[in-house]
């Protein structure tokens, strides 16, 4: 096997997520791109390769060919550029591709972006676009929506592990609390368990506050080999591992409805590659597209046994200071979920935390190791990336 190089993140940034009526897909990519290049202390000319995660430019804004579009608009021509798509995991998969490009020795400085412009279509149409991430012929065709698929998991989980809606509500309350401390979050309001439990039902038992929003946003990370990264920054963040796994596209053929096997497999692979133990991880950024998904992620990543994440939530162990802080930026729920950008946005949050630069009230003290978990669909794709500040 090719001897791989150590890869570091020089900079990683995200735009504010939300309903950006004044910004199109190019503007969002520009904003994140310029910020990332400035923070990295590089010039656009140093970038050798561009990978962009984007789920559905075609259906959200009628624009395909996103790789070349972003390269062009950011003035990066004629470097190679491409767009990768894995539904809501597009950003995570883009990061993985960038990581491979640097680790393999083919490129030194690589820009990894994620961008999604979702609010130019009616919310209902956005829901239809997102339905393309499930098995259309056998799920959407029979009336399933995305919230419905996660609701099916939640109902079964409640049946098997006696989970209460209150526990799911507490996940949303935590994520809104951290969102309130994050100036770049889509939602900055705190909510109460009571509010969450009385919000409108979307797909029983999931209510409005169990669901992540439709957001516009972009995120960019600049990668380089560790030795080169040190030229640009005193605090390069090392990519200890990045791993992807796939599972059945539909819920019909899952081994266990309450486990996302892709998460289990990607996490096991990542921990094995990184030579890092679960107890060494200081914080995790997980894919909480729905509250139940955060619960599954904590278990499937191996931080507790199946059925026990609800105890961690109930005991407040997923807050900063607890056993494993989860989604300190507000997660997808509050920080926002611009689908193609989300996986890179998670990297930006980890880099911030590992550099000790998180906003007041949401910094995990002395964070050394962080993990990002990005999911496509209902878990047909899972990307797990482990970062550390070992390079600092």
């Amino acid at each position: 096997m090719l001897k791989k190089r150590e890869v570091a993140v020089i900079s990683a940034v995200t735009t504010k997520c939300g309903e950006h009526w004044d910004k199109g897909i190019k503007d969002l990519a520009w904003e994140a791109g310029v910020k990332a290049v400035e923070e990295a202390g590089i010039s656009g000319k140093d970038i050798e390769y561009l990978v962009v995660g984007n789920m559905s430019g075609g259906m959200f804004v009628g624009q395909e060919h996103i790789g070349a579009l972003v390269a062009d608009f950011l003035g990066l021509n004629p470097i190679p550029s491409l767009r990768v798509e894995a539904a809501c995991a597009s950003g995570g998969v883009a990061f993985y591709q960038g990581y491979l490009a640097v680790a393999s020795g083919l490129y030194d400085v690589v820009a990894v972006g994620g961008v999604e412009k979702m609010t130019d279509v009616e919310p209902e149409q956005a829901t239809s676009v997102l339905a393309g991430a499930m098995d259309f012929e056998w799920e959407a065709y029979f009336g399933a929506t995305f919230p419905a698929l996660y609701a099916l998991i939640a109902t079964r989980y409640m049946h098997e592990y006696r989970l209460k809606p209150e526990t799911l509500a507490k996940i949303a309350v935590k994520n809104h609390y951290y969102g309130s401390l994050n100036p770049l979050a889509h939602f900055r309001n705190k909510i109460t368990v009571e509010e969450a439990l009385t919000s409108p039902l979307v797909a029983d038992p999931l209510r409005k506050y169990d669901c992540s929003p439709i957001s516009d946003g972009a995120a960019v990370a600049i990668l380089a080999p560790l030795d080169i990264a040190k030229k640009y920054t005193d605090t390069p963040i090392v990519v200890e591992a990045s791993a992807i796994a796939s599972d059945t596209l539909s819920l019909l053929k899952r081994r266990d409805l309450c486990t996302l096997d892709a998460t289990v497999n990607a996490a096991n692979k990542a921990f094995q590659l990184a030579h890092i133990e679960r107890e060494d991880v200081d914080l995790i950024e997980v894919h909480d597209c729905f509250s139940i998904a955060e619960l599954l992620a904590i278990e499937d990543l191996g931080f507790c046994k199946k059925g026990e994440a609800q105890n961690l939530v109930e005991e407040g162990q997923t807050y900063i200071g607890g056993r494993i802080p989860v989604n300190t930026d507000g997660g997808l729920k509050a920080a926002g979920h611009p689908v193609g950008a989300t996986g890179v946005k998670q990297i930006a949050e980890l880099v911030k935390q590992l550099r000790g630069e998180a906003d007041k009230g949401r910094q995990v003290d002395g964070a050394e190791v962080g993990l990002a978990h990005n999911i496509g669909g209902t878990g047909a794709t899972a990307v797990v990336t482990i970062l550390s500040r070992r390079g600092a």
Binding site: E124, E137, T145, I153, L252
Partner: protein, 146 residues
């Protein structure tokens, strides 16, 4: 939408009308929808067509309160994962049921229903839905002289 176009429906019609799936004659595993390969037996597997009985149990369910336009007429709709008695899981609406009676393990049977109507053309797609075996509504109608 292209995914709901008549040819796209026509290609899947037998599976959607008659609950047609596959069985691996080497290991006996059953599949829905149809498959071209048994993931366990790989090239040693022999795939045959099988028509499922349509009886099964609710494995999980949800009531959808917010649905795309083409399903709005059924909202609030019950969507469930139904485990067929032959093993495979299908996703389907549960009809002719009181939402309060829904529970995991409830016995259901397949019925033939309208899935949705295309917004523009008005073309109707049909397929299976499921109803409780203990179907009070059905019994009510069955006893009526229509």
């Amino acid at each position: 939408m292209s995914a709901t176009a008549p040819p796209a429906h026509w290609r899947r019609m037998r599976e959607r009308y008659r609950l047609l799936g596959s069985r691996c004659e080497t290991c006996g595993a059953t599949f829905f929808p149809t498959t071209k390969v048994c993931p366990k037996c790989r090239r040693k597997g022999k795939i045959a067509q099988v028509e499922f009985s349509g009886r099964g149990k609710v494995y999980s369910y949800t009531v959808i309160h917010s649905a795309p336009k083409m399903f709005e007429q059924f909202t609030p709709a019950v969507v469930a994962l139904v485990q067929l008695e032959e093993g495979p899981m299908v996703l389907s609406q549960i009809v002719d049921t009181d939402h309060k009676e829904l529970k995991v393990g409830m016995e259901v049977e397949a019925c033939f229903r309208k899935l949705f109507e295309q917004e523009q053309s008005g073309i109707i797609s049909y397929g299976f839905k499921f109803r409780p075996v203990n179907d009070h509504w059905g019994k009510y109608y069955d006893n009526k002289d229509i």
